[in-house]
């Protein structure tokens, strides 16, 4: 702590609470409260019921949760694979073709710079005609999510690679290990903590993605954020709140599980 006197410390805590609670914590608490409520009286939700959760645990709502989980899983897995590959490729290009490497870096930055609505629209335009007719299939939703989150995977793996001391690779190579063997037995294991963190980030981003999804989702592939939006849009605030809590909970559980992947390399 940089603040040493006790009153000053209390003052800092109070200021932190005054800023943090209303902006970050209260809205979530209200959502949680609303998800158990039957009505809204004054400033706070009122009444107590589990009916919204009962609805959320069956039928369309359950399908939406499964859809979201599957989409996020597929998108983050492919994003991690592509992002890792591209980061490794850029690193390999650094000594041979620095410019090409920088171009690839920029290319992977694009989905972050471009609004996700635009990414959704461009995929819609690009894949609406044969031979690449993906419009109206779950694939296009997964594809959109993958495009959006690969940028983050690419960036986190790039950052991790630049921190990785080249002596390990060089030691492995001098012992006779081929580049593939070095990648499999040395580089990837040492990168594993960063890879799992990147996977968690991609998963969370995909779970919450709405704007590109809105442009693309087919009727049989409704991710949870779309359902939440639809529920609140038609005025079912309380069921929407319950769905939102389910979305938050599911994401948090997966994130916690991923962060628990303690690898031997992380003890370094």
């Amino acid at each position: 702590m940089l603040v040493h006197s006790r009153p000053a410390r209390w003052a800092v805590w109070a200021a932190f609470a005054a800023v943090f609670l209303p902006v970050f914590a209260l809205p979530f608490l209200v959502i949680v409260a609303a998800s158990f409520a039957t009505g809204w009286s004054g400033a706070l939700p009122s009444g107590a019921t589990l009916a919204h959760y009962r609805d959320a645990a069956r039928g369309d709502a359950l399908d939406a949760l499964v859809t979201s989980l599957l989409t996020a899983l597929a998108a983050s897995a492919s994003a991690l694979a592509v992002g890792t590959w591209s980061a490794l490729a850029v690193q390999a290009l650094r000594t041979r073709a620095r410019r090409l490497g920088r171009a690839v870096d920029t290319l992977f930055m694009l989905p972050v710079a471009v609004p996700s609505v635009v990414v959704g629209l461009s995929l819609l335009v690009a894949f609406s005609r044969p031979p690449l007719l993906l419009n109206g299939t779950p694939t296009i939703v997964v594809l959109a999510h993958a495009v959006l989150v690969t940028a983050f995977a690419h960036q986190s793996v790039t950052a991790a690679l630049s921190r990785l001391d080249p002596v390990y690779e060089q030691a492995a190579a001098s012992l006779g290990a081929s580049p593939a063997h070095v990648l499999r037995r040395v580089k990837l294991p040492l990168l594993l903590p960063s890879l799992s963190a990147a996977a968690g980030l991609c998963f969370a981003l995909s779970m919450g993605e709405l704007s590109a999804t809105m442009m693309l989702y087919p009727p049989d592939w409704l991710p949870l954020p779309v359902t939440v939006f639809a529920a609140t849009d038609r005025g079912s605030l309380f069921s929407g709140a319950a769905l939102a809590v389910v979305l938050m909970g599911a994401t948090l559980i997966v994130l916690t599980a991923v962060s628990r992947i303690r690898t031997r390399a992380s003890y370094r």
Binding site: D165, V167, Y168, Q170, A171, A172, A173, S174, L175, G176, A177, S178, P179, H181, V182, R185, V186, P189, L190, T263, R264, A265, Y267, R268
Partner: protein, 350 residues
């Protein structure tokens, strides 16, 4: 059994030449130390053998094999670096087995070879530990075991003891000397900036400075008969005195010194006289230098005297004095003529 040959090897980064036309042969089974200050090109030379830097010109041969264009993993060298570079996610035995597995050695033989390498370095008891559970010295032993397990013809050591404290260093130095006796067929290229390591361990020492090879010879030769001022001052401590060469001796600030002539400096020319501080003795004798005592340091077993002789600082290490002369006293130092070496004058360093 194979040695290492550098044929006119030049390495450059952009316009900066970091290794300039190196010609050097490490004979099979020999320990060659590359000794030099940082930035002298010694590590670059080692990395050119390992394959981590690509020479701009010249060839690197291991035995009769031209390896200049081979990727590092096809060169069959063992390498030990200053920061150990043990794989942190593998136990000691897996680290040592890594090279054998990478080279697809028969599975049955791996355990025996790992045990042998750990035995040789005294690390058998630590086989199931992770590198982070070992001290620096132990990690370096494992790194050596890992390099030796693949039975390389050539072992490259890049400042292997620099990260260890002084005490561990002398112990490890003795260990390395023992390993070399046990493995007489392995050629070693040993990069260091520490002259003690080079003199203790090497069969021959290559002295490098400013990307160039300055001198190469046995430690004894380089120490007793250095051929350049740089070698004289970098290998051991030296007094380098400007002299004028005379017939059968040299003249230092009006004092005639009786020293053996050098082939490449003719009478009348100016040269540099190299005398090791510990070969100077107090008192008058043959080749006496007289001057004022300016510094006196007690170093336990010895006294270091600095004497101002005609404006030149002369260092002398003498056995601990019962009664040291006071600062400012007039003292005389003398040395045996055959202990001094005449060198061509260059740019004085160090």
């Amino acid at each position: 059994m194979s040695g290492i040959t550098f044929e006119n090897v030049t390495v450059a980064y952009g316009r900066t030449v970091v290794l300039d036309a190196l010609d050097l042969t490490v004979r099979p089974g020999e320990v060659m130390a590359l000794l030099g200050p940082s930035g002298s090109g010694k590590t670059t030379a080692l990395r050119a053998v390992a394959g981590f830097v690509q020479p701009a010109s010249g060839r690197v041969l291991i035995g009769d094999r031209d390896v200049t264009a081979l990727p590092p993993h096809r060169r069959g060298v063992g390498m030990v670096v200053q920061q150990y570079a043990l794989f942190p996610h593998m136990r000691v035995d897996a680290n040592v087995a890594f090279g054998l597995k990478a080279r697809k050695a028969p599975r049955a033989g791996i355990a025996a070879r790992v045990a042998e390498a750990l035995e040789m370095t005294g690390m058998t008891a630590y086989a199931r530990r992770y590198p982070r559970e070992l001290s620096g010295g132990q990690q370096q032993r494992v790194a050596i075991a890992r390099a030796l397990a693949v039975r390389p013809d050539v072992l490259l050591l890049d400042e292997p003891l620099s990260a260890l404290d002084a005490r561990l260093r002398s112990g490890m130095l003795a260990e390395l000397a023992r390993l070399h006796r046990e493995l007489p067929d392995v050629s070693m290229l040993y990069v260091t900036h520490d002259q003690v390591e080079a003199l203790t361990l090497a069969d021959r020492v290559a002295v490098m400075d400013s990307a160039r090879l300055q001198d190469c010879g046995t430690p004894h030769d380089l120490y007793r008969r250095p051929r350049s001022e740089f070698t004289a001052s970098f290998v051991g401590d030296a007094n380098l005195l400007p002299v004028t060469v005379t017939e059968g001796g040299a003249d230092f600030a009006g004092t005639r010194l009786d020293v053996p002539p050098a082939g490449d400096v003719a009478p009348g020319a100016s040269a540099t006289l190299c005398v090791r501080p510990h070969l100077l003795a107090l008192g008058a004798g043959p080749n006496t230098l007289r001057g004022t005592l300016t510094e006196l340091q007690w170093r336990g077993a010895t006294h270091r005297l600095c004497v101002d002789v005609a404006g030149h600082r002369v260092k002398a290490d003498v056995r601990e004095l019962r009664e040291a002369p006071p600062l400012g006293a007039e003292v005389a130092l003398h040395f045996a003529g055959e202990d001094a070496v005449l060198l061509p004058t260059g740019v004085a360093r160090g």
